[in-house]
Amino acid sequence: MSKNQSSAPAKFDAREASKFFFRGGHTGWLGLKFSDQGENWVELELPWREDLLGEADRAVLASGPIVSLMDMASGMAIWQTMKDFAPVATLDLRVDYQRPARERSAVWGRVECYRTTRSAAFVRGIAHDGDIDDPVAHIAGVFMTIAADPRQGKVPSSDGSASEAGTGDE
C-alpha cells in the first residue's frame, strides 16, 4: 500500500530511489529493477523467475507479480510527478490482461501519473514483454496522497478516511 520508506532523498528521483527501494521487502524479493523514467512516468523491470509461475506446467509468469510491478511503478510515477517522496496509499488498482507474458520473458511496467489533485493521484500504465506496442496488460489506478491530509503521515484506516480521496477535489 503505502510506499513510505525511511531513508529516501528529499527530491525524488526514481533511478536513485530504486537503489534502496529494491534491496529488500516484497519488491526486493521479486527482484524489481529500475528501467527508465520521464517527467511523469517510471518504468520498472520484473526479471524472469522460475518460481513465479501461475501454473506448474506452463512457463508463464503468474499475474500476481504483474500487479506488484504495476503497483510499485505507480507509486514511483506519482513521486516522480510530484518531485517529492510523500507517502501515498493505493485506493484502487485495476489490471486488464490482454495476453500472457511470453515464456521465460522479463516483464516491464511503465506507469504514467496523468493527474494529481490535493488528495488523489491518478495513474495509467502498460505492462509489456519487450514491445510496448504489444502490451501484456493495461492498468488504471487511484492513489491517495497523504501529505495534504491534516493528519499527515497516517495511512487511511478503515474508518472512512480512505473514501475522501477519489473526489478529484482541488
Binding site: A62, S68, D92, Y97
Partner: protein, 129 residues
C-alpha cells in the same frame, strides 16, 4: 479437494491453504520480508497476490467438484484497498458470483483479525479455455 494445489507463485510467496469454509478454501500468508512494503506493513502487490490466489483457488476447487478441466486465463482484476495490512497473518477467501461456461466472476475478500473488517477486496473475471 486433494487434487487441488496452489501454483508455484503462491508457494514462493508463502501462501498456504489453511482451511475450508463451506467448501471454499481460505488462504493464509504469514507476515514477513516477502510481503513487506512500508516497514511493518504489507505491500499492496502482496495483498493483491493473496486475493488473486484465493480467487483462483475458489474457482479451481469448484471446477474439480464439477468434474471440469480448464485452463484459467485472467481477464482482469480490480483491487480495492480498505486499510493498511499490518505485520500479522492475512487471510483471503473467494466467492464465485457467477460461473458460466467460458467466464467466471469472482469476488474476494482479505482480512487479518476479523473477517467482517476486510483490509482489501477484489473483483476478478477469469476465462476458462
Amino acid at each position: 479437494m486433494s487434487d487441488f494445489k496452489l501454483p508455484p507463485y503462491a508457494d514462493a510467496l508463502g501462501i498456504e491453504m489453511c482451511e475450508f469454509q463451506d467448501g471454499v478454501p481460505v488462504l493464509m500468508v504469514e507476515f514477513g520480508p516477502n510481503v513487506e512494503g512500508r516497514p511493518q506493513h504489507y505491500h499492496g502487490g502482496a495483498t493483491a497476490g493473496l486475493l488473486e490466489n484465493a480467487g483462483y483457488a475458489a474457482l479451481r476447487v469448484r471446477l474439480i467438484e464439477e468434474g471440469r478441466e480448464a485452463q484459467l486465463k485472467p481477464v482482469n482484476i480490480t483491487v480495492q484497498y480498505l486499510s493498511a495490512g499490518k505485520s500479522r497473518p492475512s487471510f483471503a477467501k473467494g466467492r464465485i458470483t457467477r460461473l458460466g461456461r467460458r467466464n467466471a466472476n469472482i469476488a474476494v475478500e482479505a482480512w487479518q483479525d476479523d473477517p467482517d473488517r476486510p483490509i482489501a477486496t477484489a473483483i476478478m473475471n477469469i476465462l476458462m479455455a
